[in-house]
Symmetry: C3
Subunit: 199 residues, 3 copies
Amino acid sequence: MTLRTPAVVLLFILGAAAALVGDHGHIVTGTTEYLMPAHRVPFAWSSPIWFPVLVGGATVALAELRLHLPAVRTTVTLRQGLAGVAAVEGIYALTALTHGFAAGPATVAIVALTVITWCVLGDRFAVVCGIVAAVVGPALEALLVAVGLFRYAPGAHQVFGTPPWLPALYFAFGVVTALLGEIAASMTTRRAESTAPVT
Amino acid sequence: MTLRTPAVVLLFILGAAAALVGDHGHIVTGTTEYLMPAHRVPFAWSSPIWFPVLVGGATVALAELRLHLPAVRTTVTLRQGLAGVAAVEGIYALTALTHGFAAGPATVAIVALTVITWCVLGDRFAVVCGIVAAVVGPALEALLVAVGLFRYAPGAHQVFGTPPWLPALYFAFGVVTALLGEIAASMTTRRAESTAPVT
Amino acid sequence: MTLRTPAVVLLFILGAAAALVGDHGHIVTGTTEYLMPAHRVPFAWSSPIWFPVLVGGATVALAELRLHLPAVRTTVTLRQGLAGVAAVEGIYALTALTHGFAAGPATVAIVALTVITWCVLGDRFAVVCGIVAAVVGPALEALLVAVGLFRYAPGAHQVFGTPPWLPALYFAFGVVTALLGEIAASMTTRRAESTAPVT
């Protein structure tokens, strides 16, 4: 494990909190609905407790993954990380706000924002984290839909019961989480340097 | 007063014009409604005349405030200022367009755009101007609502009759106005230098 | 002709494909409707075949135009080009998604995004390409509306049957196409240099 414990805790909490905020938007707009079996576990706000836990864990895993890929950037800033978190939460909110709109242009708008997020904040290895997130996330959601834990409202162009914009949202999540991993690593390095004994 | 007279006039006109455009969006979408007592004064487009006057004055005051805070940036450009004004007007328009949408994700989207605006264009002292605007603006609006001059359409999560995204809109306004103050100051300096006698 | 043949082909295909995606959004939302005479020619997806051909040709022409204007930038990157294409497609999708919304704030939001696109990606000569596109494009559309090939759904503030945001969408298209021309030129130059014999 490359991430230090405080970074793991912070990334887990950040991912879980962002998941709760985003999922609330999906629930109140009717974009998604948790079905009966999901209600057998406690809920946090609008989500069954395992949802923020899964997203928090995925945040830590993707940030860690980035640090095992080449060319980890050391000049990334907290400000970029904040912008990245805002971008993902904004895209997440947009997927809720466009519920009930034509799936085609809504998906184009969401993909466009995801592409811009990568162009501004990502490097080529963030693409790896983005693709991992865009494959594993929707696959897991399709599984949860298949076993009847929740469902998306019916819509055009769905794949295994999931909406066409879902991989784009996960891709943006993966790109920004890779950035957060780099920020955590470079802050740890800087702190280590500033407390190292003079040799 | 640090701002020169031409800058004061331009900032006042810019703020007043931006206010008229933004307020028009709120009126035509039914986000806000001016009540009977407000109609005792002349209207400019969709707004009673005091509304653009107040926003124009606030624009001057916040730009001036920034110049009394430390570390005034001298490398900010007119292009950044233009992007900032577009960002605030775009966020303002979004608050009108999302009228009638679920308050939760609409507020998340608006806050996300405000955070990104600060990340791209603001410095730490712009946060001061943002917070001043985000406190005074909504407080004054709550007062005007309380005395019956206007009202927001009913919605979720309102505070003293004002919507939950209002502080974010004012924060973005404060951040960009701080930037405009810096641009005005640095252009004045450059002009003074270019017309100074060679010593 | 300054653009090399591969660049011409790529720009034509990119413009045509982007046009098909954007036009599909307009059709499925009812923003536009092709009328009977338009159906006398084959359709590609939601568009009569001449629509992507015209936009592909305009993409080539505007990129070429940029290279005949001064101060062609050589440091622009593929990443900026990708962000630009995403920005135009995102704005295009937004014009479809805001169909049925109040024309005032929808137009403000679209204009704001166009201004930000220029601020981030354009130079002063991109403005020339933007203005050419913003004049010729809507004029041609007004002609096609006048002869009965297609129509926009009725809306406020229309000019010769075209919506108020149309020049902004074309302006963004012109700005980004100018950037794509610069990218194509600088990639050609770099390739020529890397394959030149050592002298």
